[in-house]
């Protein structure tokens, strides 16, 4: 009897993630690529690279679930589910309920509450505003002429913090320029920006039980987890590869099908 495989493809606004698991729920391979402007092409590329990585042929995969912003663009998927369901399911793979999942994505944030049985109790997405998302940090990095990958180190090593009060990304950018003009050191400003992301998340919903952080922003800026822990006093967990949690959840759903 041949082995059973299932796949998940998470097409986000910034990156596309693919994951392949086997019938025993073992994680075989995952891929992350930029989504670009052609979601279908991105999903296909991520999927094919993932197949290569897993050493599995497409014909051996019995079911593929797509998720994320571009979930309807994945023509080869068997079915689709929202990223709300998939991030929750992916987190439950590593941590038992009750948990509160905080997904910080490229253009939106989500807070998903799951009970002890793993059933979803509620969820919230940010309003029509990218404040506090990956797009916010990208915009600020651009203003500060800093590569994105340096932000985490700068925030972590800062010897203080410059408080930023603006909600809006555009107003924050102006505020950052004012702080630079006033002579504040860049690391302190970056730490202030990180705090701004945390504030936007905390005002979305209460963070209860164990908090599990997912998404590309956490993958590349794990210092945010420390700030959240500091602010809330709740236990904070990060899955091994938080950027592909949605794709993993999708693959787990695919295995059920």
């Amino acid at each position: 009897m041949s082995r059973k495989f299932a796949g998940g493809v998470d097409v986000g606004s910034c990156t596309t993630k693919a994951m392949i698991i086997d019938g025993e729920r073992r994680l075989l391979a995952s891929r992350v690529i930029y989504s670009g402007t052609d979601f279908h092409a991105a999903s296909l590329q991520a999927w094919e690279e993932c197949l290569d990585g897993a050493g599995v042929s497409n014909g051996d995969v019995t079911s593929i679930v797509s998720t994320g912003y571009g979930r309807k663009s994945v023509s080869f998927a068997t079915s689709s589910l929202t990223e709300i369901s998939c991030h929750g399911r992916g987190c439950l793979y590593f941590f038992p309920g009750p948990i509160t999942v905080v997904d910080i994505g490229g253009q939106d944030n989500k807070i998903i509450k799951l009970d002890a049985k793993g059933q979803r109790v509620s969820f919230k997405m940010n309003r029509k505003c990218a404040a506090g998302t990956g797009a916010f940090l990208e915009e600020m990095a651009l203003r500060l002429r800093l590569p994105m990958e340096q932000l985490d180190d700068l925030a972590r090593t800062a010897d203080g913090e410059v408080a930023l009060g603006s909600y809006c990304t555009v107003f924050s950018a102006t505020e950052v320029l004012e702080k630079i003009k006033a002579g504040h050191p860049v690391p302190r400003i970056v730490r202030g920006l990180f705090h701004s992301v945390v504030k936007r998340i905390l005002e979305m919903d209460t963070l209860t039980d164990t908090v599990v952080l997912t998404g590309g922003v956490i993958e590349h800026n794990p210092f945010l987890a420390e700030l959240i822990k500091e602010e809330t006093g709740t236990p904070v967990q990060i899955p091994p590869h938080p950027q592909v949690t949605g794709a993993l959840g999708a693959a787990l759903y695919a295995l059920d099908a």
Binding site: V65, S79, L81, I84, D108, Q119
Partner: protein, 415 residues
Amino acid sequence: MSRPEPKIRKTFAAAAQMKKLMADHFLALDAAKREGKPKVAWCTSVGPAELLRAMGFLVYYPENHGALLGATRMATDYIPVANSIGYSPDICSYLTSDVGAYLKGVTPLTKAYGLQSIPEADVLVYNTNQCRDVQDWFAFYAREWNVPLLGVHTHRNIKAVEDYHIADLAAQMKAMVPTLEEVSGNRFDIDKLREVVGLSLECTKLWRQVLECGAAKPAPLTFFDATIHMAPAVVLRGLPEAVEYYKVLLKELQERIENKVAAVEGERHRIYWDGMPIWGKLRDLSDQFSSLRTNIVASTYCNSWIFDAFDPASPFESMARGYAELFIVRDESYKEAYMDQWIKDFSVDGVIFHDSRTCPNNSNSRYCMPQRMSDRLNVPALVINGDLNDLRCYSEEQTRTNIEAFIEQLDERRS
């Protein structure tokens, strides 16, 4: 988890009759303006329309026009025009889209009914029971055309409608009579008012029965049907045509119930909608809910034209009561009890609150009501951000994902 197939909701045979009624309504208004008689009164949708009808006015409802601007997706183009002369983008987008379209000399009535312009008012009559914006909206046109502006100023956050509310509101309506006599050229006749209130009562009773059909399983109509079929209850109440129309529609609904005809094929979930419709997205949302085999079976909004209190024996007092008993003007405890009852009676699985950016009075999610309701009834609630007319405040993908995720949550609860 399967890929949903697009499904279109079933149409009603009665719809053709309604289209004709609405065409007749607008053509009569247009003819009146050309001929100079009868005089035209503008009225807010839950204003004292019966008094205006009884005085011989043809009645025009700008909110109906606002909804048309929204549904035809013209609104977002004209809101900035009103913004540019000083009306904030944060106030009622019916007001801003209507004023903006007027300033640009356009109306959806041209394409729909051949009218070159909206029918100018000879008098404007508002009731602040729904919000203060209607007062400012009508004041714009009163200045523009130099015509009388009359208003009923209703108390807010009413817990229980008391005698002093009734006395005050009835007196405010009676005080309008001399001006209305002067503008219309007609003498006030209490028997005529009794007759109109009687017809409005018949209309409202039938409209209630129409909406209550949604309690049947499967439901024979959706919120999206109701937002269309409520038009006669809004603009033709007090006329026999509205009564006749709802008799026809009710019969069709009863036949559907008898034959177990579902408005949404394979109905799986039943939703209560609180807040304004998103007029420019009705079709898209209707298709999405149908695809998800989910029916919005009841709403606060469409219930707004149920006036149980109307009584021809005491027309002014019963109008005062009817227009003060409305959900929108009541306090939070009344609103919660009201919604709880409908949610139970209609076997609702989940509640969607539309937080309409420019309509705070019709957005009940802002003071923690969804959380209290979910805890109290063990019914999941979702808040979606949007607007009745200003699609700049609406995110298509965010909304679609929120709704889809909510239905997935309902699926999970059921499994």
